[in-house]
């Protein structure tokens, strides 16, 4: 036989294989081949080939519609069976769907949160070409301090020197004093007043409602305001050309109105004016030593960034060699995209952000954990209950279903479950979003169809969940041998026992890690809140020192101190939560020529140390008895002494820039920044014109009256400014807001994860107790006691949870150690923080299991054995 010629093209077999299977396929191939061979014999090869392809293409539509029709029929059958199963086993379906729905809802919420975190600043048109210039300074001992701020001449100088930079814009959020703005009767303090170069709106994309972005900042006293600000002052969005009066500054003419700044922008402001006004007013901001600005540059191509980084690194060398030498000052470019999540610079607009990327990772991990736990529930119950469906599978196989059909059926069922759960999850998300927003401090929206990516993401999560949880059951169930299944020899529930055990252990390991995480985060926050700061933060309130308070501070103070409920009044340049003054100290007695130290400096008055309750270690406090203290006295902290390396500091020469003086006292270290940072060197000096804040310590008793009288005295001395104050301890709590939110969110999700694990365990226990009904009956007949039977049933679960503990501890330890690295002052993970969650989890699990164990143990053996 000339076999090659007689065989029709191989391709056809493959194509037919796509549409037909089993008998249909063989029949079609056979019929084709037979006719083809007949044609070859009678009409010759060429004609036969022609006929063959003609016939093939003519048949194709029939094959396709045929296959779709029969698949449709089968699909409807699968659907019917699946829905019947859901209906018949209500408890089991509820556990499955509820678990998956809660898991998916958690996942979607976290997904929205992560999405929001990742979306920061992405709305700018040129975001991919936008960079911020940052600077770093190396101190004597080699530590590098990195700062977000850059000096005023940097922008123009860069643009001139490097053609790769198309445009630059400097930005300065004005925080030195509280701004008081006025339009007719509307008078408000404003925190969001900023200054920027006219090119600001060319570099960044903030859509204008009114006005022209190109010229909005070109007039000197112009101001661009946001929509909501326009509403606040003018009651309408139509505000172009109106004037806002800023106390002590003058009149600003509104030249543009922009849409409200999205919450996911790292630059936030309500008012923005040309930066020229600032230069005019504060001429000392001029030089390369005054890094008071955030400089953004627009690059031609982002691929230039590496080359450019190398070039700008030593930019200062050519301009101010001396400054380069003393400060070892370097510049670098940081993509604006990275600012929100991946930057760690001092004096940054939004604080340290590196920790936020840790949280993004943490939260994503929780989402995945919760989802895995929910999937495991599904797999567990599906495989455990496989015996109940064994007969159906047997019949299907006998009637001609092959393994892949069965696998497809169960795969499809789990997809159906996950889609039903998705529907419920979406409702859950919509309901719980306000709570979630309150928890995380975000303003997330959940509208399914507004964002294609989110919709696809959510669908993707559901499909992945369905696939993950359907994979194992479908493989296991489809492997049943029909003969043994129908004979009834399949030991019920024995299949996949090992796998199920592994799944439960995984589930509890994940839950355990979450519980340990919650405990450690809680302990750390508690530790930080209860940690001694080194001063007394309670009943200490502060407000801005401005207007009439500036000139008449002494009179104001003595008036206040007449009130017996006011214990102390003092003033300073910084609040110990937001310190802003940092400089290089280069001159003290006993230093080696190369020494330079980065130090924080406050201006204070004579009563600061006493009012705050800061302890002195050596020397003395500022005193009115020594007139030289006002100009020449310095009080430093222990850390400064340590870094300067001097033995007996009292009386040593010391100068801050050109202000020469002596160290008169050493104070004990206290925390003047958040506890994320270690204590840095700090110096106090008396320099009244720098003072910005007034602190008042009040008695805890009669606080409302005290505040009232405080307000009236304030009004008497400073009628033009409204009285607004803050309590220091509340401000300090604000510092740990991120952690606090993180913990609350973490707690909620941990709770849900445990809940999902438990309902899964509940289902599994119910099933296992049911499986062993007869065994228990026989045991009881033979004299087993109720506690004995309960023990028997709980033994397995206990074992699994113990194993989960052993696996979970090291994992949790490593992860939490990583998180704790973010804190300079942290708790050491103690044994109880690991043991406790383990015990708690064991108790929860045993409680969950005990219901069914007890029920099985208490059952009358007569009932369970009656039918055999």
């Amino acid at each position: 036989m000339n076999s090659n010629k007689d065989n029709h093209p191989h391709l056809v077999k493959i194509i037919l294989g796509l549409f037909l299977d089993g008998d249909d396929y063989y029949q079609a191939i056979g019929d084709f081949e037979e006719t083809y061979r007949y044609q070859v014999k009678t009409k010759g090869l060429a004609k036969a080939n022609l006929w063959f392809w003609f016939m093939f293409f003519k048949s194709l539509p029939g094959f396709i519609s045929n296959s779709i029709y029969w698949r449709g029929v089968m699909f409807l059958n699968y659907l019917k069976i699946a829905l019947r199963n859901i209906k018949r086993h209500k408890g089991y379906s509820f556990i499955n769907i509820a678990g998956l729905a809660i898991g998916l809802a958690c996942c979607i919420l976290i997904f929205l949160w992560v999405w929001d975190e990742l979306s920061y600043d992405r709305f700018h048109e040129h975001i991919h070409e936008l960079c911020r210039v940052v600077r770093s300074e190396r101190s004597q001992d080699g530590t590098i301090s990195r700062f977000a701020g850059t000096p005023r001449p940097l922008g123009p100088s860069f643009k001139e020197a490097y053609p790769e930079i198309i445009e630059f814009a400097r930005f300065h959020p004005y925080k030195s004093e509280r701004v008081l703005l006025e339009y007719k009767d509307n008078k408000f303090y404003e925190d969001g007043f900023s200054f920027a170069d006219p090119s600001f709106f060319a570099v960044f994309t903030f859509p204008f409602i009114q006005g022209d972005p190109k010229t909005a900042l070109s007039e000197p006293y112009a101001v661009v305001i946001t929509e909501q600000t326009a509403e606040k002052y003018f009651g309408s969005k139509d505000a172009i050309g109106r004037t806002l009066t800023m106390k002590n500054w003058g009149d600003f003419t509104v030249s543009g109105i922009i849409k409200n700044i999205p919450a996911n922008s790292h630059i936030q402001f309500d008012f923005i004016s040309p930066i020229g006004i600032l230069f005019e007013r504060f001429s000392w901001m001029r030089g390369w030593r005054m890094p008071h600005f955030y400089t953004y540059v627009l690059l031609e191509k982002i691929s230039n960034i590496h080359n450019l980084n190398a070039k700008i690194r030593d930019h200062i060398k050519g301009i101010d060699p001396e400054l380069f030498k003393i400060a070892t000052l370097h510049f670098a470019l940081q993509p604006v995209e990275d600012i929100h999540l991946r930057s760690n610079y001092k004096f940054d607009l939004s604080g340290h952000s590196e920790i936020k990327s840790v949280y993004v990772t943490f939260f994503s991990a929780i989402a995945v954990f919760v989802l895995i736990i929910a999937c495991i529930n599904f797999m567990n119950l599906a495989t455990a209950r496989s015996a109940n469906r064994a007969r159906e599978i047997g019949i299907r196989k006998v009637s001609g279903a092959n393994r892949s059909d069965i696998a497809k059926q169960f795969f499809g069922e789990s997809l159906l479950m996950s889609l039903i759960s998705l529907g419920i999850a979406i409702i859950l998300v919509a309901l719980s979003l306000p709570v979630f927003n309150a928890l995380t401090g975000k303003q997330l929206n959940f509208t399914l169809f507004s964002n294609m990516n989110i919709l696809l993401g959510i669908l993707g999560i559901a499909v992945i969940t369905g696939c993950l949880s359907g994979l194992y059951p479908s493989m296991l169930l489809s492997s049943f041998q029909p003969a043994s299944v129908l004979k009834g020899t399949l030991a019920s529930g024995s299949k996949g026992f090992l796998f199920r055990r592994i799944l439960v252990i995984t589930q509890f390991t994940l839950s355990l890690i979450l519980i340990i995480g919650t405990v450690i985060i809680y302990r750390q926050l508690d530790y930080m809140q209860s940690m001694k700061l080194g001063y007394d933060k309670d009943y200490l309130l502060y407000f801005a020192k401005q207007g009439g308070l500036r000139g008449q501070y002494d009179a104001f103070k003595s008036t206040l101190l007449k009130n017996p409920y006011i214990l102390g009044v003092t003033t300073s340049s910084d609040v110990p939560t937001h310190t802003r003054h940092l400089t290089i100290i280069e001159d003290w007695e006993g230093k080696s020529p190369e020494d330079r130290i980065l130090m924080n400096y406050f201006s204070v008055d004579h009563d600061f140390i006493e009012t705050f309750g800061i302890e002195m270690v050596a020397g003395r406090n500022f005193s009115k008895d020594f007139s030289t203290d006002t100009n020449e006295g310095y009080v430093v902290n222990e850390e400064a002494v340590k870094q300067m390396g001097i033995k007996s500091p009292i009386g040593k020469r010391f100068s801050l820039w050109n202000y020469k003086g002596h160290i008169i006292g050493v104070m004990k270290n206290f925390h003047f920044k958040s506890l994320h940072d270690i204590i840095e060197p700090l110096i106090f000096r008396i320099q009244p014109q720098w003072d910005r804040y007034i602190f008042v310590r009040v008695r805890s008793a009669g606080i409302a009256d005290t505040l009232k009288s405080l307000e009236s005295v304030h009004h008497q001395f400073n009628p033009e400014y409204p009285f607004e104050f803050k309590f220091l301890d509340e401000e300090i709590e604000q510092l740990y807001q991120v952690e606090k939110r993180m913990m609350q969110t973490f707690q909620s999700f941990t709770g849900l994860a445990i809940f999902i694990s438990c309902i899964g365990l509940f289902g599994l226990a119910a099933f296992m107790a049911e499986q062993r009904t007869k065994e228990i009956g026989i045991r009881k007949v033979l004299g087993a006691s109720v506690p004995g039977v309960v023990m028997l049933l709980c033994k397995d679960f206990t074992k699994w949870i113990l194993i989960a503990n052993v696996i979970g501890w090291p994992l949790a330890f490593v992860v939490m150690k990583m998180w704790l690295q973010n804190f300079s002052y942290r708790i050491g993970p103690g044994i109880w923080q690991f043991l406790m969650p383990g015990i708690v989890m064991l108790c929860i699990a045993l409680l969950t299991v005990s219901y069914h164990s007890l029920k099985a143990a208490l059952a009358n053996p007569v009932d369970s054995l009656r039918y055999d």
């Binding site: 056979g30 081949e33 029939g62």
Partner: protein, 110 residues
């Protein structure tokens, strides 16, 4: 009464005519011959499968044969219900096609 579709009817009749030799190839030939129109395999498998599903025909596989490259033929034969269905359709034709209809349409063709 379960009415047959036209293609089902033709194929059912073809199977009856072919007696013991009804399988894909011969059924296609028979149907083509009867209708004077070249049927594709795709066009006969679909009604065939439905007929099997409705239990009008039975399908069984023969011994492997060499002209099919060693594959079995899938032989079809009418069942009792299949015969009933044909009888039914015949009865319907008789009542639906009255003498008047026949006269009218035969004339036109002529």
């Amino acid at each position: 009464m379960n009415l047959l579709s036209r293609s089902e009817e033709i194929i059912l009749l073809a199977i009856w005519k072919l007696k013991d030799n009804a399988y894909g190839v011969t059924i296609r030939e028979q149907a083509s011959k009867d209708t004077d129109h070249e049927w594709s395999f795709g066009a006969i498998y679909k009604p065939l499968k439905k007929l099997v599903h409705k239990a009008y025909v039975e399908k069984r596989s023969s011994e492997p044969c060499s002209e099919r490259g060693g594959r079995s033929k899938y032989m079809y034969s009418l069942t009792q219900t299949g015969k009933e269905a044909l009888r039914d359709i015949r009865k319907i034709y008789k009542t639906v096609w009255t003498e008047e209809c026949k006269l009218a349409f035969d004339k036109k063709n002529r």
